[in-house]
Symmetry: C2
Subunit: 298 residues, 2 copies
């Protein structure tokens, strides 16, 4: 069970390096993060994009990329579909979004003939490492599913449980988050939370313990559960936070990334391979730990 990004990095360094296709690699930040991961022996990058533009972007930040394979492609659409083709044909283990728009990359992933869509729902998983919490915290969905209904929430949760298990959390404890810890008919998210708990208990969502509704404090603080009289195996010890909607999840992601010095990684899961997908404004460090997360679950 991996309890920190340092542990995750150690394991990734020791394992054979994964091949990572970068869709439209002509972006300095993405080049920097992927070269750092290459130097640590974590990934073997394949830069998909315009050779001249990639070399220019590397030159701008004094990166020596002469040892890295460049797969020539022009334009967002061609770059995205080429990167996806590389994973579909087994020539890469994972994909990272470079300068392509997210929507273009998603289209290539979802393409019926040439995509890598898989059978289920795609969703975004964040992995948070913060010194005020005793282990890694997975969180869904800050980027893809806007206002998921109960079934979609269940699918998102299944994806997240799968990712947790890939980093060694055999039976992740899942807290379904709302604004309060009680079922409240004027707060539909608390109803979904109660239903998801029961669904997990009945085996409709496997390999995890689910409890909710919780406010965020109940999920991460045993003291908070004690004060409020909440008896729960999950309370204060959650591995996964399932958020009610994209607004609450995105606010948590951004608060961690922009108002604390904690680490947070972001990947898209549910396709045949993980997609490393960060926001343009995210720091190099976020991009690096996101590569790390993608490698660890691929």
């Amino acid at each position: 069970m991996i309890r920190s990004f340092a542990e995750m990095e150690k394991q990734a360094v020791e394992a054979p390096s994964k091949r990572m296709a970068i869709a439209m690699a002509e972006e300095s930040d993405v080049l920097k993060a992927s070269m750092e991961a290459w130097e640590s022996g974590i990934v073997e990058p394949v830069f998909v994009g315009d050779k001249e533009a990639i070399q220019q972007a590397a030159g701008d930040v004094n990166l020596d990329i002469s040892n890295i394979e460049i797969n020539q492609a022009t334009g967002e659409k061609e770059c995205a579909s080429r990167a996806i083709e590389l994973v579909r044909t087994g020539k890469a283990d994972l994909v990272m979004k470079g300068r392509t728009a997210t929507s273009t990359l998603m289209k290539a992933i979802l393409d019926k003939e040439n995509g890598v869509r898989g059978s289920g729902v795609l969703s975004h998983v964040s992995i948070i490492s913060i010194k005020t919490y005793h282990k890694l915290l997975l969180m869904s969905d800050a980027a893809l599913n806007i206002a998921p209904d109960l079934d979609t929430k269940a699918s998102i949760l299944r994806n997240t449980v799968d990712i947790a298990r890939r980093i060694g959390i055999e039976k992740p404890k899942t807290a379904v988050i709302g604004a309060v810890e009680k079922v409240n008919t004027s707060m539909p998210d608390t109803i979904d939370a109660a239903l998801l708990s029961k669904m997990a208990q009945r085996g409709q969502i496997k390999n995890c313990v689910v409890d909710g509704p919780f406010a965020l404090d109940n999920a991460v603080s045993g003291k908070s559960c004690q004060v409020k009289g909440i008896e729960s195996e999950v309370g204060g010890d959650a591995d996964i936070l399932l958020m009610p909607d994209i607004e609450a999840a995105n606010v948590l992601y951004k608060a961690i990334a922009y108002l604390t010095d904690a680490d947070i990684a972001g990947i898209i899961v549910g396709a045949d391979v993980p997609i490393v997908l960060t926001s343009r404004a995210d720091s190099d460090r976020i991009k690096f730990v996101s590569i790390l997360a993608g490698v660890s679950v691929s």
Copy 2:
């Protein structure tokens, strides 16, 4: 303009102390925080509740409360209405929730004959002081309004602007938060955000500059605005975060309170006097800065 809780405390210590009625004071944490505020000369508490139970709760944590006035009352309902009566009749300047349930206290506030409701919407304001941001950050509404419509959001914003001005922020910059920075018809909160911006521009919400939609990073990071090409007076320099709903706001409140070492205060505003209202599980420090916030805006 007050830029930190330390400054707020300094001003409160220098000003004449305010009288604060505590509704059902027989709770050790609330007694501790209010005695700390009394010792600093910030408040003159009036403990409303059962004398014996209050003395017992004080004894449990070794507090000497012999200099504090106790106003005898029994039961949640009587304690709440007595505390409200004290402010209504000018015998107290603000109220703090003790052991009464929030709902009981709200009923006493809203009572048509004997309440202190005022004319507008009641809402919750959080005040955040975090070392990664260069000034205080006000945030609404983490506790009272569940899924506010556009008009209610405007009222909540007016309340928050009023509070900002009371701590010397003459024309607060307001960021209306969603999951993304663009108007998106499948995300109703981004539409409300655009409308609130226009309403402020047209003078329907006064004394503030409003911009949105923003994701949280755009509101607090100038770099994020630059990378995303957002030109805005508010971006990266927000005084107020207007959150889309109680889930997103509560998650931000709880993340700050339970996953960082930052300070956060919580008060209910919009009634004739501020109500200091914190969660039972919140720390002594949160209770203390919440008293401070209540005093500063009363």
